[in-house]
């Protein structure tokens, strides 16, 4: 069944406390080579049948209006996975 995957990330200019916490843990356990960690969200919208243009447009609409808040987040990807 096809799935529409929506990726949402906190805006790049904003502090991401969750990512900062993971970054801090990396430093404590000796993981090196990663200068920053940011945590976002992945939504999987399951579709019964075919992904039409209308359905993809509807997914884009809910991604902007419901799944993300444009004040604090950006939708960074919408893709169809078979």
């Amino acid at each position: 069944m096809p799935t529409i995957v929506v990726d949402v990330m906190p805006k790049s200019e904003l502090l991401d406390p969750q990512g900062k916490a993971v970054s801090g843990a990396f430093a404590r356990i000796g993981v090196e080579g990663f200068s920053d960690v940011r945590i976002g969200k992945r939504f999987e919208l399951t579709v019964e049948g075919e992904v039409t243009d209308e359905l993809l447009a509807e997914a884009k609409r809910v991604a902007e209006d419901v799944l993300s808040n444009s004040v604090i987040e950006d939708v960074v990807g919408i893709e169809v996975v078979e």
Partner: protein, 235 residues
């Protein structure tokens, strides 16, 4: 006839009963309202209480902001009905686009609970008219996601138009930009803040003061302000 102030309960609301009690202490009649209804029961003002509606899933206040009753809340707010959002209620108001900005996890990543000093920045709203601009008050604060953010442009507009209602004083407890603790809309009828006025309305249960332990009742004036605002609209 006493003024009727509705308090909306959402799944996961915690402070709805305290808000109802605060309304009663301000000599108004509390009306319990339910998120799943489309009926505001003709109330004169509304409180969206604190808590963790829908477990803070998706984003704090986001799912509650899509509740059936929010359609009526938005209509009523646009017509000038006084609406106060406290903590999770504030998060709902920004998610419903009734107030500008957003709220993110505290910058220090910890839940914080403290008696918080605030400066009243705008005493010309439906919920702050009993205060003086510049007055310092102390009410409890308790949240994990209370960091107020907005774009620089929005922040400049808020400051320029006097829409910052409250600012943290002494300590910024959560990394809120420009120490903003609460904001108002342009009309002054919709106000939201992270700290909890309803927990500082009754001697014996409020923050400590210089005179006695737990005697702080600075929160009561939020509710008496609304009563005065409603009386003024009716007159």
């Amino acid at each position: 006839m006493s003024i009727r102030i509705g308090v909306i309960t959402f799944p996961g609301s915690l402070d709805d009963r305290d808000a109802q009690r605060a309304v009663r202490l301000a000599d108004a009649e509390p009306v319990a309202l339910w998120h799943g209804s489309h009926d505001l029961e003709g109330v004169d003002a509304l409180v969206l209480p604190g808590g963790f509606s829908y477990g803070d899933y998706l984003r704090s206040g986001a799912i509650a902001a899509l509740s059936p009753i929010m359609t009526e809340v938005k209509d009523a707010a646009a017509k000038g009905l006084p609406v106060l959002g406290i903590c999770n209620g504030f998060q709902m108001l920004v998610e419903a686009h009734l107030l500008p900005g957003g709220l993110i996890r505290n910058d220090h990543q910890h839940f914080v609970r403290r008696d918080q000093k605030l400066t009243v920045e705008n005493s010309d709203t439906a919920w702050t008219n009993a205060f003086r601009t510049g007055q310092e008050i102390v009410i409890p604060l308790k949240n994990g996601e209370g960091g107020y953010i907005a774009s620089e442009e929005t922040l400049d507009r808020l400051e320029g138009e006097g829409l910052v209602a409250f600012r943290y004083a002494g300590v910024n407890p959560n990394g809120s930009l420009r120490d903003i603790a609460g904001v108002t809309n342009e009309a002054g009828n919709v106000v939201g803040l992270m700290p909890h006025p309803e927990h500082a309305t009754e001697p014996g249960f409020g923050p400590d003061t210089a005179t006695a332990m737990r005697s702080g009742v600075d929160g009561l004036d939020f509710f008496t302000s609304a009563v005065a605002a409603v009386a003024r609209i009716a007159a």
